[in-house]
């Protein structure tokens, strides 16, 4: 096994995770999947990539679960007659999670496999690992929920955080909200949870709304994208692609943990989504790319929901494994496999791995509305999930902001030399990408991408985009030590013409040299800014305060004072995202030539009282 190799974490005891004959979660899905892997030539029975795994220990389970709950599971696991009161108290009283004999061992085998996979990646035994029996994202610290007894994901992530203090990006593709994992790390800024799922309006667990964003230090580290019922591949993939790369860029994880529940498939009986295996394959591919871009390839993939036991699950997870194992996507489902399993299926088993949505999904009259609903939510998620600069650097097709070409700043780029305590610096606005590319970057420039080399790439990218204005400060030696960017606003601000978002960054070693003041003065002294509204959105979780010696509140005060000198005022707002933390702040500078009606549109956007109806 090598660092870019793959591991497959499995334990035959996982097949004993079985709530009974009439239950939707049928272990046959895993048997058929393993069989398909073999028939497709992707994993042999004696394959060296298979990890030996054991049952999770009590200590490991208690990383997430309460001792009393583990006691109860063990007691009920002894078999009938069941203590009904005990069963009900811990979530085993309903048809969702009926107690069964041996359930502790079966559930602990799942956790053990996911843990083994996580550790294999953490220890560098392999780059990527797949634990297909895992992904039980609903289990709570002291209750079984939604077919999940122990939360293998939360245990694996907790273990990674304990052993390494790694930053973990958790990505949940299941049709249902990843509530158990979100709850386990809701206040922890080192675990960023992102779940895309069918809205809780008509679907379990009824959570995962946009405004669930984390609490305390974890505020801004839970991100939810609830899509509408009947969402199809294109809209779902668009949402994933519009959010996930920017989120990874902002967070710069050390490892990605992804849950590949496939119950959003059009054939799945438990959700109202209309996805296909093509969307699932694209999702796995994107996570894979991001793992290589940001985490030296460290990636732990898990299974999850999936209740079309033979028609969907085996194909969906074979595609995940192909991605994990760097194999080309398989195309045709081997005939011997179909022959063997067809007898257990009610519908003909599909012959291809990748579905064609046109064949699989019947036409959906509401589709255009659904696409619009999802785009509206994506725009909101992007607004609070990552800063404007990253939104500009990671554009998406849903961004159909009306263009205002006539207000594009005049293409004349200005320069100025300023003297600071650290020496002279040159300021340059409308900086062309060739100049930005030729310059070097100060190692202290890392506010947006957390790494100077990536920050440099980001600035080159921004400089080349239409309708953005990048102002840089560089030394005579050709090193970038600060920047101010003006980028097109999107989301809530898109309908306001002439509105740009402003971001400022000063290299760590150049703080307290008044370079920030020089830059802002320079930027706001251009005549064209009098035609615009400039907005600076300060979300605590976008700031990189490491090494600044400031806490979020001091930083907010500093920012407000600095901007106030150049005509920016703190704007009152009832925006729940801004109000979510008292250190968040919204600053705006309204140019002297901004027409009154434009100002009014802007002002109305500051207040959006939620309509509430029963």
């Amino acid at each position: 096994m090598t660092a870019d190799g793959a591991c497959f974490a499995w334990n035959p005891a996982i097949l004993d995770y079985n709530f009974g004959a009439q239950h939707p979660l049928d272990p046959m899905r895993l048997r058929a999947f393993l069989d398909l892997l073999e028939d497709a030539g992707l994993l042999a029975p004696d394959d060296p990539r298979r990890l030996t795994t054991t049952l999770a220990t009590r200590d490991e389970l208690e990383l997430v679960h309460r001792p009393a709950y583990v006691d109860a599971v063990q007691k009920l696991s002894e078999g009938p007659p069941y203590d009904e009161a005990l069963a009900e108290l811990y979530g085993f009283g309903s048809d969702d999670n009926p107690a069964f004999e041996g359930m502790h061992q079966a559930a602990a085998a799942i956790v053990g496999a996911s843990l083994a996979a996580a550790r294999a990646v953490a220890e560098g035994a392999c780059g990527h690992a797949f634990s297909p029996g895992g992904g039980l994202h609903h289990a709570l610290p002291e209750r079984a929920s939604g077919f999940c007894i122990y939360n293998d994901i939360a245990v694996a992530i907790a273990d990674l955080v304990h052993r390494r203090e790694w930053k973990v990006l958790y990505v949940d593709f299941d049709a249902h909200h990843g509530d158990g994992v979100q709850a386990a790390f809701y206040d922890d800024p080192r675990v960023l949870t992102f779940s895309i799922h069918e809205t809780g309006r008509h679907l379990f667990p009824g959570t995962g709304f946009l405004r669930e964003m984390g609490v305390g230090a974890g505020l801004g580290y839970a991100v939810n994208m609830p899509v509408s019922a009947f969402t199809t591949d294109d809209s779902w993939v668009e949402a994933v692609e519009a959010i996930l790369p920017g989120l990874a860029a902002r967070f710069q994880p050390d490892i990605i943990v992804s849950q590949h529940g496939c119950d959003g498939h059009a054939w799945d009986p438990l959700s109202h989504l209309r996805l296909t295996t093509s969307a699932f394959a694209r999702a796995a591919q994107l996570v894979h790319e991001l793992a290589h871009d940001y985490c030296d390839g460290r990636w732990l993939a898990l299974g999850g929901g999936g209740y079309d036991v033979l028609g969907v699950v085996p194909r969906a997870w074979t595609l995940v494994w192909a991605e994990v194992a760097h194999q080309p996507r398989p195309e045709t489902v081997p005939e011997p496999w179909r022959d063997r399993w067809q007898v257990f299926a009610t519908d003909p088993l599909p012959a291809r791995f990748l579905d064609d949505p046109a064949e699989v999904v019947p036409p959906i009259p509401r589709d255009p509305e659904i696409v619009d609903e999802n785009r509206g939510k994506v725009a909101m998620v992007r607004e609070f999930a990552f800063p404007g600069l990253l939104r500009t650097a990671f554009p998406w097709p849903g961004q159909d902001r009306p263009r205002w070409p006539e207000q594009r700043p005049a293409a004349q780029s200005r320069t100025e030399r300023v003297d600071t305590a650290k020496g002279p610096a040159f300021l340059r606005d409308l900086a062309p990408p060739s100049l930005v590319a030729r310059l070097d970057i100060d190692p202290g420039m890392r506010a947006f991408m957390r790494r100077p080399d990536r920050e440099h790439k980001l600035l080159i990218n921004i400089a080349g985009l239409p309708d953005t204005n990048l102002t840089i400060a560089h030394t005579p030696e050709g090193v970038i030590v600060g920047h101010v960017s003006m980028t097109e606003a999107e989301g809530r601000w898109a309908p306001v013409p002439r509105l740009y978002e402003v971001a400022i960054e000063i290299a760590a070693g150049w703080r307290r040299t008044h370079l920030a003041s020089h830059l802002l003065r320079f930027v706001t002294s251009a005549d064209y800014v009098e035609d615009y509204i400039l907005v600076a959105l300060g979300y605590t979780w976008h700031w990189d305060l490491d090494g600044s010696g400031l806490n979020a509140f001091q930083y907010r005060t500093m920012l407000s004072r600095l901007f106030a000198k150049y005509g920016f005022d703190v704007q009152p707002t009832d925006d729940p995202e801004i109000m979510g933390s008292e250190t968040n702040v919204l600053l705006a500078r309204v140019g002297s030539r901004v027409p009154y009606d434009v100002y009014e549109t802007f002002h109305n956007r500051l207040f959006r009282r939620a309509a509430w109806a029963f």
Partner: protein, 209 residues
């Protein structure tokens, strides 16, 4: 449920002579937006963050050199209060009608706590079963008295935990609605059973508008 069941008991208060900067600091430290103003143990006003912003502005925190201003200059009275024994719905109605976000709660003539919008939202979230993972079901029903016994019968026969069961008053132009939250990820069998009840329509998402 009474106001005393949901009110916040630990209340930070100020007097009319407290400096506004101090009041703002108290609000920020305690993460709240309302401060009852007490004069000789009597509640004379509720100071809000907006009152403070109106007088001090929000541009710069604690600007030096500004003359110090007392709470008296920002507060507006008279104050509306409730007692610990008022039902929560009365408190909600007062807050809605007067468009205010917070009510001081009085017991034996003295301040016993406050009840705020967020206290009421908290109750609403709990009443609707949102603190439990579950599936939301909406039923459109005919005559409530006809369908209610059968609906309840179906719910009791099902083993899905019932987190919430809400019925609002009738509206002349709309069918009656029942809002349920049931603790199951697999509501299909329950939905099928509810559909068997004459006069019950289960609202489900549809591919067509």
């Amino acid at each position: 449920m009474l106001v005393r069941d949901i009110m916040t008991r630990k209340v930070v208060t100020v007097t009319p002579d407290t400096q506004l900067e101090e009041a703002r600091r108290l609000m920020r430290r305690g993460r709240f937006r309302h401060l009852p103003v007490l004069e000789a143990e009597r509640v004379v006003a509720v100071l809000t963050d907006r009152d403070i912003a109106r007088v001090l502005g929000d541009a710069v925190d604690g600007a030096a050199g500004e003359p110090r201003r007392p709470v008296r200059e920002a507060m507006s009275g008279p104050v509306v209060t409730v007692t610990v024994f008022d039902p929560i719905e009365d408190a909600a109605r007062i807050m809605e009608e007067r468009d205010i976000g917070c009510l001081p709660v009085i017991e034996d003539g003295k301040l016993a706590g406050i009840v705020t919008e967020s206290d009421l939202f908290h109750v609403l979230v709990w009443l609707m079963g949102l603190t439990e993972p579950g599936t939301r079901l909406e039923l459109r029903v005919g005559r409530l008295t006809d369908v209610l016994p059968r609906v309840v019968d179906v719910l009791c026969t099902s083993r899905a935990p019932l987190h919430s069961f809400l019925v609002g008053p009738a509206r002349p132009t709309e069918p009656r609605r029942i809002l349920l939250r049931v603790g199951t990820i697999h509501p299909a069998p329950l939905i099928a059973a509810l559909r068997q009840v004459p006069g019950v329509e289960v609202v489900e998402p549809l591919p067509a508008a």
